[in-house]
């Protein structure tokens, strides 16, 4: 996959064990999407991915680290604080820890 995601979509890049799990280097999903909904969306498409990959991964949106757990907590504890929303054309990366060397 190359170039930009199609209109109304964002691109999700997979790295290391996320690539092995999905057998893809990326996917395009409809935008906008609150980042807190990303785990559920992926779990539906790739059953088991949340426990095996997402729970320990770093996630970045347009190269900025986003703590999805923190966003989830903030969304549940306060009505006003809205979670971050992934926009059309955004690039989201899933970066699991790699320990080999």
């Amino acid at each position: 996959m190359s170039g930009k995601p199609p209109a109304g979509h964002f691109r999700l890049l997979y790295f290391a064990s996320a690539t092995s799990y999905t057998r893809k280097s990326s996917d395009d999903f409809p935008a906008p999407l609150p980042i807190t909904d990303l785990p559920e969306l992926l779990e539906k498409k790739y059953p088991g991915i949340e426990k095996a990959v997402l729970s320990s991964s770093a996630i970045t949106v347009n190269l900025d680290y986003v703590d999805v757990k923190e966003e989830q907590q903030a969304a549940t504890t306060s009505e006003e604080s809205k979670p971050m929303v992934i926009q059309e054309g955004d690039e989201v990366a899933i970066i699991p820890p790699v320990s080999s060397g």
Partner: protein, 559 residues
């Protein structure tokens, strides 16, 4: 004379008068870094003698080239000869100074002696020659070179990351390079671990690395630690160094090295690589004094939770391309130079690093465009258990082993998931293959790329990744293959094999968990039912194809 007497404290062979016969005797043992000897087996003994021959040949070569210089100087006249002799003495003194220095322990950087009184210049002539090309870079300069010369860098792990990192830091002229690894060189290392040669297979990585690095730059002091680093030892060891490079290959060491770096206040360069991808971060920079949130974050701030053990693979299992891990190790050396010689302090630096210490994580994907991405990190977690004001990890918890890193990382993965009567040895399978009465099929659960490298004739490839994703669908695929084969009848027994005998057990267990896999009333065995047809679940082969090669077919590819 005791064998140990032949070696200096640095592990160097002192050349005695009757060298060849003694060498043979010495070579049946290997000097370990703690001063004791390990017995070598016959192959290792032969390799070690080969290595000794190579070392001595390189000494002879050097002697010959020195002699050519000497003769040329002599031919020119007495003044030139005297000049040559002085140069030669100076070089000898430099080499001896490097090798005869006291151990690192207890030495503070202020005790470093830049010159020996003869010259007022801060570097020797050979150092100006060796480092000239990097010293004329304004980012380094003479001042930066002197900083490098004072620096003590510890490299933990001498694999695909540690080898290039060590080579470039040795070349750059750091003062001391500490090298930690308990492993020996194997053939499967050579495509990426660039400090080793075929003749070194079976020998200590630390020993072979130091041997090679001395040939690259004899001015650096090399200190070998021929053991596996543990949380108990890490804090004590890190204190002796200015900077730590984590070149290890396991989640537990990734966590305790980060914790020990925080506790000792040392910056840490962290990299890893697997298959076609790599990852790089600079951690604890500037070093943390507990509780100050402005300082460098640690590994736990980025990855508070380790991967579940089943998704952890080491290079041996997962494979890796040499240049991928090489590029990551090389980047580590560059980050080390940037930390040791901050460009903000170099007056003429044309390229300066940002002052704000924006933390980042670099990912490298060899087959993607762009290959490199720099992700901005958030820095310290307010509740980090290692480096925040709320930290609970202490020096004591590491030194007395009260922190169980293995348990934190999900425990030891034990692969003995099947009962004894569900397994058989490779030899037993061979017997069954030749003399068995029951019809059987062998299912090879390795990935296709490995199956294509070599497989047992007639075996069927159903990759474990397919089985773990959808066991039922992959079994239907297998049944379809068997149904098309006229020699296979329902009632056939299915046996399972993989590379080392781990995945095949997991695959078999997954199949046994299928609802349509039920006990067969006549045979006390499980069978996979498909309508009225059934396939009997046989056994997994202990040790996989690795055992098959060792016990049955030595020609099977040892990849």
């Amino acid at each position: 004379m005791e064998v140990a007497d032949l070696y200096s404290t640095e592990g160097l062979l002192q050349i005695p008068p009757d060298l060849p016969s003694l060498l043979h005797h010495v070579s049946s043992k290997r000097l370990k870094m703690d001063g004791s000897f390990a017995e070598l087996d016959n192959d290792q003994h032969i390799e070690q003698v080969k290595c000794h021959i190579q070392s001595i040949e390189s000494i002879v070569d050097k002697l010959k080239s020195d002699f050519t210089e000497m003769e040329a100087a002599h031919a020119k006249g007495p003044a030139d000869f005297e000049n040559w002799r002085q140069q030669s003495d100076k070089r000898t003194k430099e080499v001896l100074n490097t090798w005869m220095k006291p151990p690192l322990r207890g030495e503070s950087p202020s005790q470093e002696e830049p010159n020996q009184g003869e010259s007022t210049r801060p570097l020797s002539q050979s150092e100006y020659q060796k480092y000239g090309r990097q010293m004329i870079m304004p980012e380094i300069g003479l001042d930066g070179q002197l900083k490098l010369k004072k620096a003590k860098v510890l490299i933990v792990g001498l694999g695909g990351l540690g080898c290039p990192a060590a080579a470039y830091l040795a070349g750059a002229g750091v003062g001391a390079l500490g090298l930690v690894d308990d492993d020996t060189v194997s053939h499967s290392n050579l495509h990426r671990q660039i400090l080793y040669v075929e003749g070194g297979v079976g020998l200590s990585k630390v020993g072979r690395a130091i041997h090679m690095l001395r040939h690259m730059n004899s001015s650096v002091r090399y200190v070998g630690y021929d053991y596996r680093l543990t949380p108990e030892k890490a804090v004590d060891l890190f204190r002796d160094y200015d900077l730590i490079l984590d070149c290890t290959d396991h989640p537990t060491s990734r966590y305790f090295i980060s914790d020990a770096a925080v506790l000792t206040g040392k910056p840490l360069i962290h990299a890893s690589a697997l298959r076609t991808e790599g990852l790089l971060m600079v951690l604890n920079n500037p070093p943390s004094r507990h509780g100050n949130n402005d300082e460098g974050h640690c590994y736990r701030c980025v990855y508070p939770k380790p991967s579940p053990p089943a998704s952890v693979v080491t290079c041996g299992e997962g494979g890796v391309l040499g240049p991928v891990v090489g590029v990551m190790g090389t980047l580590m050396a560059m980050e080390a130079i940037k930390i040791l010689v901050p460009t903000t302090q170099q007056a003429d630096a044309q390229v300066t690093s940002p002052d704000d210490h924006q933390p980042w994580l670099i990912t490298y994907s060899a087959y993607s465009i762009p290959s490199f991405r720099a992700h901005r990190l958030k820095g310290k977690r307010k509740d980090c258990v290692a480096c925040s004001g709320a930290a609970t990890i202490t020096r004591e918890s590491l030194e007395f082993g009260s922190l169980d890193y293995v348990a934190f990382c999900g425990g030891r993965v034990t692969y003995d998931v099947l009962k004894y009567n569900q397994r058989m040895s490779a030899r037993q399978y061979k017997y069954l293959f030749e003399h068995g009465k029951d019809q059987h099929a062998l299912v090879d659960v390795r990935e296709k790329v490995q199956f294509d490298i070599g497989h047992i004739d007639g075996s069927i490839n159903i990759p474990f990744s397919d089985i773990s994703r959808d066991t039922d669908a992959s079994m239907i695929r297998l049944e379809n293959i068997l149904d098309c084969d006229e020699t296979m009848r329902p009632g056939t027994t299915l046996h399972f094999i993989c590379r080392y005998g781990n995945d095949s057990q997991l695959a078999l267990r997954k199949i046994l968990e299928l609802p349509r896999c039920r006990a067969h009333k006549d045979m006390a065995k499980h069978a996979l039912w498909h309508g009225d047809n059934l396939y009997i679940i046989g056994r997994d082969i202990i040790g996989g194809l690795d055992a098959w090669r060792k016990e049955v077919d030595e020609d099977f590819p040892d990849y």
